[in-house]
Symmetry: C2
Subunit: 278 residues, 2 copies
Amino acid sequence: MSFKNKLGAAQDCIGVQIDNALSAFPESQIRNAMRYCLEGGKRVRGFMVIESAAVFGLRGSGPDRAGAAVECLHAYSLAHDDLPCMDDDDFRRGKPSLHKAFNETVAVLTGDALQCTAFWLLAGEETSADPQIRSELVFTLATASGADGMVLGQCRDLEVQAAHAELTEDEVMSLHAKKTGALLSWSVQAGAILAGEDPTPMRVYGDAIGLAYQIVDDLLDADQPGSEDASILHALGVEGARAAAANKIDEACDALGPYGDKAAILRELAQFVVERQL
Amino acid sequence: MSFKNKLGAAQDCIGVQIDNALSAFPESQIRNAMRYCLEGGKRVRGFMVIESAAVFGLRGSGPDRAGAAVECLHAYSLAHDDLPCMDDDDFRRGKPSLHKAFNETVAVLTGDALQCTAFWLLAGEETSADPQIRSELVFTLATASGADGMVLGQCRDLEVQAAHAELTEDEVMSLHAKKTGALLSWSVQAGAILAGEDPTPMRVYGDAIGLAYQIVDDLLDADQPGSEDASILHALGVEGARAAAANKIDEACDALGPYGDKAAILRELAQFVVERQL
């Protein structure tokens, strides 16, 4: 199956698990808003969960649910990021952002409900028969998304923007490692955790992919008029940033060595990240 | 030890676990804001966790951490409730609310980080040596706080207020069972879950306490000028509400029958709820 077909299949599996999760909650405005907020994502993080589990021969509802969980977590962060007091974005995923389609109150509460749905999915028995694995998924996702992970990175980024501070290359990389990298890296580690295997090689791969993703994001932003402050470019310059992204992709692929051909799709994923086909 | 002394001791134990959790995160604005937001609470929910575990002879860092977890969850809900787009409250726990002391952006992100800290605490190995228990704590707290629990109740309450709708007694009770009851009820069930015991009697007790708590809240609000719409009183009248609260306390205490004298403190807690000493 081609890479694009595999991504499409993963999107379908994640969609099924999202529908299952939502149907466990009563019909309500909050459930409608959760569904709206989850629609239309590319499911890159969920795909990473599913394909990293497949490296260990694990497929099915466990990885699909964990993939849906990280998509709920990601969707909550987008809903809150778009709020007027945050980035104040009116559009998301090609349609009005959540607070525009509903209102700010609903957007805050929907983000809150999506966050706990992520942990609800991971802790549910259908995710793994082994409760140690479920606990570890919850603990590691909570670590990746909280005050030493994504939220820390978001908060630091806003502080830097408010202060118009110039960061060194190391500071920029460290900020983005938290802001976007932690969740991407968790997504590939989740496959190893689900399989009861050591997640270390996946962590090295995921950390490198996360930084490459952010560098490419900044390079693309630099071509857009009215783009946000592209701070990696400030630190590295365009050529330096391109070289850094290529380096990170090499580093990511090297980390997959122990898995041999089983990790072919993750190597393709690394290329797609840098070529920005995703 | 008197009830007040037991509450004070629980507050201290929860404070230790909150400090431990915060010290696991790097020094940052978000950590300072989390600390600010957690300060000054009465820790009723955490106390419920600790005392319900004590009914089964279980004391120590497990119940203390689970108590700290529900306090993180509760603190996040207050921080988001106080936002300008929600209840727009300038004060909380006797000091400026989080968005007043910091700003709205930090208040949104701090709430987000506090929510995942709750699940991080529950899933951590120090909470219980048994991963099945840790998973169950996460799953049940996520259920109690999300789109079929607290957030559902918050969202419905705001819809009712916006529509100036008049609810029946059943509708009011059902709304509050979600909005405030689910988290209070989880708090006493958590003790049974930690001990590996059937949480059913604790659920009956907790559900009843949760409703009594809300009814007393509305009765007290009715004495305050400029109070919010006290919807239980609309449905029941003052005398009806007083009788309903007393009924719920009886129901709560009856549910504790199987535990005999071991549940003496929980019976006292029921009285304190209705006499509003807490």
